[in-house]
Amino acid sequence: MEKMPKWADVLLTPLISLVLAMGISALVILAIGESPVEALATMIDGALGSSYGWGFTLYYATNFIFTGLAVMVAYHASLFNIGGEGQAAMGGLGVALVLLSLPLPHWALALPAAMIGAAAFGAAWALIPAWLQARRGSHIVITTIMFNFIAAAALNYILVNLLRPVGSMDPASGRFPETTQLPKLSDMALSLGFEWGRNTPVNVSFFVAVIACVLVWLLIWRSRLGFEIRAFGKSEPAALYAGINPVRITVIAMLMSGGLAGLMAINSVMGEAERLVLNAVEGAGFIGIAVALMGRNHPLGVFLAALLFGFLYQGGGELALWTSIPRELIIVIQALVILFTGALDNMVRVPLERIFMAMRGRRKA
């Protein structure tokens, strides 16, 4: 028997967690002498009150969809991929190398080429921890965390010594060719005859992210490979009994996970910065963990959770801009949401399950 109805599982629990996080955030804001109501109003207005706000919210959400899906795919194979940050950074390198070395005449050609570069580099970065886990039993959490640092250091070196244009003081690659610029959603809106989200970075990558959600759903819940990934994730002894090769599944799941994390670069590196800068990922790899947890490891949940975190990012930025609430406090608020929706999930879930069990017991009695 299910412990509680599905709607309570997927909607009520994260909502209650969110309300709790907001409640504590409100107390913190009160404690520094600001008005939580005003702060919330500023956030909502800044992130969702205008097409400008929406443009940024969706841009951030696109990043989080990719990294959230990355964590989710690995999670179904019972692999906790903490390395989204490094894999996304490497994906950025892949994008830069493709766009700087190949003469691509149009964005429609540049996008698939950059996607291949991004996914290949992200996947390659996940391959080593995957292989170490599958063959040598090195714990994937440890290795992927380590690989984040290695990626950051390697990228630093590559940018400063190899990709930096001659004479530039900036540790960044040169600009990508004009022809490879991805269309912004604001441009697309204009060509359809209305103005939406002028000067915002959200671009066609958003649609790629949405398609990725659908494909990941098909993969996990409709394909044979997904069946094997889920079975392996639930029970390795059972997978062996069923003839599923654990090494193969570990490697494939991590390759897909790393590839998805890497794909984030088409949004941030190719779509927004249009060159590779230092720390292009900006923590989105870690946010992906919270997004996957809050999204209950389902693509639809990941999509919604990514929107929420996009809102928090953009709203938090506005808060810093328009109020005297310090920037650090915004990080505290974001951290509280991650804490409650991700790490403390069971704190809400278990009592809720009890309530539902008790209600059902009473109905039967």
């Binding site: 069946f227 029970s235 599923i244 008790a358």
Partner: protein, 537 residues
């Protein structure tokens, strides 16, 4: 209704009972695990509690030991009402519990395990030397011999169990609860355990024995209480009842305890195993040269105490030997060689060669507990072409197939969408059995087909296994339940320490003879000492 005493409404006897439960009820959400239970356990008796899985035996004992708080009802210990809020209270009241899965710290010595939680002060040494003295006395009184300085992980299962009993006695338990104590023991070890229990009874201790084995109840208990679906359906004097009557009380209908089957008509050889050896990753030799033959239309039963290489044999035949193990020897299936190492040694390849497998542990291997029943019916055969071509699976086809199989195997409730964990043990096993038998394999490997399965489902599963044999298939049956081996097998091989100790025909074999083989003694070579082993009734 039953002859003999019905607990309810019986006038209180003069001497207070060791334990008396009055109207105990406990619900977990919508599940009523115990409903209005009355139980009276007299001092100085061995009281059996029998019932199918999920009948509420464990819940009741957990209440008695302070793990759960009852929703209603009253507990009297030695005639005085007692609220047992935690296990400390239970221990102080003189109740000791020996769990089915031992609660011992594996890398502690026997002595350290005994005093764990019962240390007298901050320094260990005085407690240890006191315990050493008490232990010596207990060993003399009750034949409970264990080396106090041995590390627990080096002890045999039977000795580990003794440590559990000693732990309870050290805490001055007057009432000892044993939960399925013989599941892991050889017949000889079980015999020894029963002698210990009888000794304890003679000293005036009270023993509650939870079991699903009717034979044990008949052999050792004074009184037996039967539970069914959370209720206490009868309490009778053992002398006044019979196994058939108890089985009927447990299940609520008449049950055939013996399998009906025609003599086997063995055909061509299906499986041939020659000189199979296996050294596990720790360098321990688990199989020391196994030779086996199974023909079409026969059931070869492998008897033996668990841990003597049966698991390794099944895993190798099933295509998934332990990681890091070294295997040598030859296996032939239908005359074709079966790889024992390398990439071709995997379970999917074995299935293609016509080997089906009902694994020993359905919850860990045979099923994905979080998957729906229909997904579990496809599990292991998810590559089959009828489940969809290409990358995607045809969910409708799988569902139709699963629905049909679930119906034919009478899985209850007959709903495909329920997750495997929400079925009872017996119905979970029926899903596995349905999946494997319906594939019509030439050879079916079966490990512990009825472990934790209720009597009604056992009858059903046994019938299906015999039907498969009669359809001309070869069956390898591994079970630690000697009764099951005796009633199903056409030939019996006994495994001990990675070897086949001997083969017997079920008609010729006695429990004592097989018990000796299971303990590593070949009776034909060394006739047993008189009176060492009691024939089981």
């Amino acid at each position: 209704m039953t002859p003999g005493a019905q607990t309810r409404g019986r006038p209180a006897t003069a001497a207070p009972a060791a334990i008396e439960l009055r109207g105990i009820s406990k619900a977990f959400g919508p599940v009523q695990a115990n409903r209005d239970i009355d139980l009276r356990v007299e001092k100085g008796t061995i009281h059996g509690i029998i019932g199918e899985n999920g009948a509420g035996k464990s819940t009741l004992m957990s209440i008695l030991y302070g793990f759960y708080k009852p929703d209603a009802g009253e507990i009297l210990v030695g005639g005085r009402p007692l609220t047992i809020a935690d296990s400390q209270t239970a221990i102080r009241a003189g109740i000791g519990m020996v769990f089915q899965h031992f609660k011992l710290v594996q890398n502690f010595t026997v002595l350290e395990n005994i005093i764990l939680g019962a240390e007298d002060g901050r320094l260990l040494r005085p407690s240890l030397s006191k315990a050493r003295g008490v232990l010596g006395q207990l060993a003399r009184d009750y034949e409970l011999n264990v080396d106090p300085d041995e590390t627990v992980e080096d002890l045999s299962v039977g000795h580990q169990q003794r440590v559990e009993i000693l732990k309870a006695l050290y805490r001055q338990a007057d009432i000892l609860i044993l939960d399925e104590p013989t599941g892991v023991l050889t017949p000889a070890e079980a015999d020894h355990l029963f002698r210990i229990l009888e000794g304890l009874r003679a000293e005036g201790k009270t023993i509650i024995l939870i079991t699903h084995k009717l034979r044990e109840i008949m052999e050792i208990t004074d009184t037996v209480s039967v539970m069914r679906r959370g209720e206490m359906v009868a309490s009778v004097s053992t002398a006044e009842t019979s196994p058939e009557q108890l089985a009927e009380l447990m299940v609520g209908r008449k049950v055939l305890l013996n399998v009906q089957k025609a003599p086997a008509r063995p055909g061509r050889p299906i499986l041939e195993v020659r000189g199979l050896r296996m050294v596990d990753g720790d360098g321990v030799e688990r199989l020391r040269g196994i030779d086996l033959d199974i023909r079409a239309g026969e059931i070869l039963g492998i008897a033996g105490v668990s841990g003597n290489g049966q698991t390794q044999l099944l895993e190798i035949l099933g295509g998934y030997p332990e990681k890091g193990s070294a295997i040598s020897g030859a296996i032939r299936m239908n005359g074709a060689p079966v790889p024992v190492a390398g990439a071709a040694c995997n379970a999917a390849e074995r299935r293609r060669q016509g080997i089906g497998h009902i694994p020993e542990d359905r919850q860990v291997e045979g099923l994905i507990m979080d998957f729906a029943a229909w997904e579990n019916v496809a599990f292991g055969y998810h590559d089959a072409p009828e489940y969809g071509r290409g990358l995607l699976m045809d969910r409708d086809a799988i569902r139709r197939d699963a629905e049909a199989k679930i119906k034919r195997f009478d899985v209850r409730p007959p709903t495909c969408d329920l997750a495997a964990r929400n079925f009872s043990g017996g119905n979970q096993q029926k899903i596995v059995v349905a999946r494997e038998i319906e594939r019509n394999p030439d050879l079916l490997l079966i490990g512990q087909p009825t472990r934790g399965v209720d009597i009604g489902a056992i009858e059903f599963i046994h019938r299906r296994i015999v039907e498969l044999r009669d359809a001309g298939k070869a069956i390898l049956l591994v079970s630690v339940e000697l009764d099951e081996i005796l009633s199903l097998s056409d030939r019996i091989a006994v495994m001990f320490d990675g070897r086949i100790m001997g083969e017997r025909l079920p008609g010729d074999a006695t429990t004592g003879d097989l018990g000796l083989l299971m303990a590593g003694v070949d009776a034909a070579a060394n006739p047993p000492t008189q009176g060492l082993f009691r024939e089981s009734r």
